[in-house]
Structure formats: structure tokens, C-alpha cells
Amino acid sequence: MSEKKPIFTPVSEKEVTRAIVAGFAKQFIEYVESDCLIIGGGPSGLMAGRDIALKGVKTLIVERNNYIGGGFWIGGYLMNKVTVREPGQKILEELGIPYEKAVRGLYVADGPHACSKLIAAACDAGVKFANMTIFDDVVLREGNRVCGAVVNWTPVQALPREITCVDPIALESKFVVDSTGHDACVVKKLEERGILKTVGFGAMWVEQSEDLVVEHTGEAHPGLIVTGMAVATTYGLPRMGPTFGAMLLSGRRGAQVVLEKMKKK
């Protein structure tokens, strides 16, 4: 009677650990310097990253949570259906995300399906991620040009400062994209330093805020491109409701701006 062969190849714990550390370290060392550093892995950051990386540009997305995707997993009121207004459904089609027409000009998709497809599209394009990593500060060069970000492990922020004292580290990049949503963390950091002044977002006006967010997407400061809801905070635009078309289109517009500016550099 022959001995039953195990399904998995035997590997020791130390080899598993080595593989994780080596794999992470290899990528991290490579991406300490990137062409484009995107802060925030929500829909606009993912869309921007995907379009930029598709052009062969070295792109890293920093995400403070363990999960990527931001609010794109769920729609309003914690319900996992996401909506886009025309022409946002064209991007859903491009990414292979199934959707249905709700009413004229409004389309609805499953949040988990839409979000996972967008993440996969970004990964397939070559985007790398540093999740559980929180933005701490900007790296500035001559003329206050933004040239990178100071980051730390997310859990460090949750611990009392007295017992942590974990210094952050810096990542350098040709361009930084602020895709941190309403918080507009990178823009706010420049504001703290007196370099830029924001006004915060206005009252909710779904119909118009989407157009305005896309139209205002662009370079807010040398080296810093702002996308998604961070645009509304930066320019005092009306707040958006639970529709995601503008996040996808703003990400795409942000990518175009980055790519155009890279050509000029």
C-alpha cells in the first residue's frame, strides 16, 4: 500500500518568513523612488494609477488601510451597490465590470465586483502598493516643489506617542498625487506649512459637483496633482453624493495631467 502524498510541498516556517521579507524588501527598495507616488487607494487613485502604469510609468500607491479600494466597495448608507452617471459607465465597460441601467443616465453595479475589478486592473497595469502605510508629510525641493512623501506604518499612529517613537521614512517621486478623499491629506499638509490654502467642500450638490471635480482635477502645486474628492476640498466645490463616475473620470484626468507633465520634464 503506497503512502499518501501530501497536497502541498513541505516548506518550513523560516522559508515562508524569508519569502515574505525578501519579496517585500525587494519591491520596497525598488519603489523607494518612483515616477509617480499616489497617496490613497480609493477609486480615483486606483484609476489614476492604472492609467499611468499602463504607459510603463513606475507607480506606487500608498494606502493607510489594509484593504485597497476606499469607499468603492459600498454605495450610500453601507449598501453594496455603486452608481455612476453617464458617461462613467464607459469606464465600467472598459474594466469589464457588469452594470445595469437604473434610470436614464444612471447605472448601478455591484460594489465588490466593481472594486475588485478596478484593483485588479491597477495591479495588471503594473501598479505596486504599500498598504497599511499612512501619509505623514511631504518631501519638498527647490521652489517648494513636491517630490515625495514621508510615510509610516498605519498602526504606529494608533499607539501612544510615549511608547512608540517610531520615526517615519521618506519616499521620493517625480510626481505625487493626492487621492485621499475629503481629507485631502497632502494638500492639507501644504496648507499647514503655509504653502497652499484650501477652503473645504461646500454643501452637497451631486448633479454639479461631479462635473466640477473632473474640471478642477489637475496640478494644485508644482509636483502635486489632486484627484477625486480631494479636489472638492481643495477648491471649495460642492460635496458629492454616493456616485462614483467623477472619481473614475477624475482619476483618468489626473493620469493625463501626470503623463503630460512627465513628457515636458
Binding site: 490654502k197 466640477l212 477648491y235
Partner: protein, 282 residues
């Protein structure tokens, strides 16, 4: 009656700003000329005759007059570069469609006035700008900005977006919206009870607002208290539709008489100076 009309303009100049779906400026002008005997000129887009350099200046001025918090008194600020870029793209594109920013109405009027009159206010021209942008004025009663349909003065501004957004829709529309009913569903259900963007009734409704602008120019008072008169200052969409489309008559007997008088005198009109406060309509 003759004392009531201060002066009769020699022409009505109609301007537009951006893509104004649903507005037929030519038809509106013909209506005004027919009713008043004052000829009109369709001047087209207000920005079309300016140089790139001038448009850059206009973009910078417009970027400074955005009302960012309707609950606070307005203060001029220094715009960010992207805000100026946005305005530059807007004034360069004659068919610009995007709106949603609330501009400080009085300052907006000043910018437009400088463009039309170039520092020399000419009261023989009744200038009216139809815009696809939104402006508001500070309300002293509740100390906040309110979006407006019109701001009468030299020139008069009429906002097509304001006409859709400023007069309130039926109360139950807002209650159901608050309860979470999608706006698209509500718009289908309440279709016809309020004006929407690109509404086929827009030109017809705007004829009444243009007439309010002309009455302001003539008398200093653009409004009438009669709810059936096209000069009624409507606060609700149903009032707009009643006064402009479904009223007992087009103009109340008093204003009908003023227009008749105007028409009979307009061919022999002469300029006399007059100033007045800008009128505001919701």
C-alpha cells in the same frame, strides 16, 4: 403714465454666456421688440470679441468672486492656479456646459458691466445677459447667500441655471428626496411641475424675465404683485409656471397699459439719465 417711464432705450442688447440649452435668443428678442417697439440686437456670446490677454484678466477676476461658503459674508481671496485655469477654459469655450459654482452676484455684474459698457455706462442701451452660471446675493434677513434667477441693473443678469435651481420645487419633492428617493426617479415623477435644464418651455418663461429687466430699465421697478402677471417675483416653481405660462393674462392691466404707452412712444424716444438700485429676483 409718461412720468412713470424715465427714459426709453434705443435698443435692447441681448448677450449670452455659455451653452444655454433651450433658449432661443432670436425668438426672445423678437418678442420684446413686438411688445415694446424697442429694437433688439442679438450680441451672442459675451466673451467672443475679447483677446486672449483680456480673457486671462477676466478669468482671474471670475476666479476671485466664487462664494465658497454661502453662510458667510463674502471676502475677496487669492485664487489657486487651477481655479484660474478653470475659468480660463470656461470663458474661452463659447459653448461651456459645466456649472455649479456660486458667484457673488453684485461683483459678477460689475465684471460683466465693464465688458459691455467698457467704463461708459450707456443708458440708451438696455443690456441683458443670459448666463448658464449661477450667482447669488447676500440676504440680510437670514444672513446667507441665496442663488438668484435675476439681478437687475446695468446690465441685467438672468441665470438659466438659477431659474431651474433657485425657485423652490414642490415641498413633497424635497421631503421625498430627504427620505432617500433617487433624484432621477423624483424628476421623472414630478416632470412638468418645475423647470428642468434644457426645458422646452425655457424661452417662453425667459420672455417674462427679460421683460422684468426692461421694466427695471424703464421704471426702476421690475416686479408686479399680481401672481398672474409675467412681472411677478416668483419664489416657487409653480409660481414661475403660473405667471409665465398659465396666468389669466400675460400682463396685468396696469403693466399692459405701460407697455402700450411704451410702444406708442418708443419710435420717438430720447435718452434721459436715470440711476436706480439693482433689483433682485429669485
Amino acid at each position: 403714465m409718461k412720468n412713470f417711464i424715465h427714459h426709453i432705450p434705443t435698443c435692447i442688447d441681448l448677450y449670452e454666456e455659455g451653452n444655454i440649452k433651450g433658449l432661443n435668443l432670436q425668438s426672445l428678442g423678437r418678442y420684446l421688440a413686438e411688445k415694446t417697439g424697442v429694437p433688439f440686437r442679438n450680441q451672442g456670446n459675451i466673451y467672443k470679441r475679447f483677446s486672449e490677454e483680456k480673457l486671462e484678466t477676466i478669468a482671474k477676476e471670475l476666479a476671485r468672486i466664487k462664494v465658497k461658503d454661502p453662510g458667510k459674508r463674502f471676502a475677496l481671496g487669492v485664487p489657486l492656479q487651477a481655479e484660474v485655469d478653470y475659468e480660463r477654459r470656461r470663458v474661452r469655450s463659447l459653448s461651456w456646459k459645466v456649472f455649479g459654482i456660486l458667484y457673488e452676484g453684485v461683483l459678477y455684474q460689475k465684471i460683466v458691466s465693464d465688458l459691455i459698457f467698457e467704463g461708459r455706462l450707456a443708458l440708451d442701451r438696455c443690456a441683458i445677459l443670459f448666463t448658464n452660471q449661477l450667482f447669488g446675493t447676500w440676504d440680510l434677513d437670514n444672513m446667507r447667500y441665496h442663488a438668484r434667477v435675476s439681478l437687475y441693473g446695468f446690465p441685467s443678469l438672468i441665470s438659466i441655471v438659477g431659474l431651474v435651481e433657485a425657485p423652490a420645487r414642490p415641498k413633497e419633492f424635497y421631503l421625498r428626496k430627504q427620505m432617500g428617493t433617487p433624484i432621477e426617479l423624483l424628476e421623472e415623477e414630478y416632470q412638468g411641475r418645475f423647470l428642468d435644464h434644457g426645458d422646452s418651455r425655457m424661452t417662453e418663461v425667459l420672455k417674462g424675465y427679460a421683460m422684468q429687466a426692461l421694466l427695471f430699465h424703464l421704471t426702476g421697478n421690475p416686479f408686479c404683485e399680481d401672481r398672474d402677471c409675467r412681472l411677478f417675483n416668483s419664489h416657487w416653481q409653480e409660481e414661475v409656471l403660473r405667471s409665465q405660462m398659465d396666468g389669466q393674462y400675460e400682463f396685468c392691466p396696469r403693466h399692459e397699459a405701460i407697455l402700450k404707452e411704451l410702444k406708442s412712444r418708443s419710435s420717438s424716444s430720447s435718452l434721459s439719465s436715470s440711476t436706480g438700485e439693482a433689483g433682485v429676483g429669485r
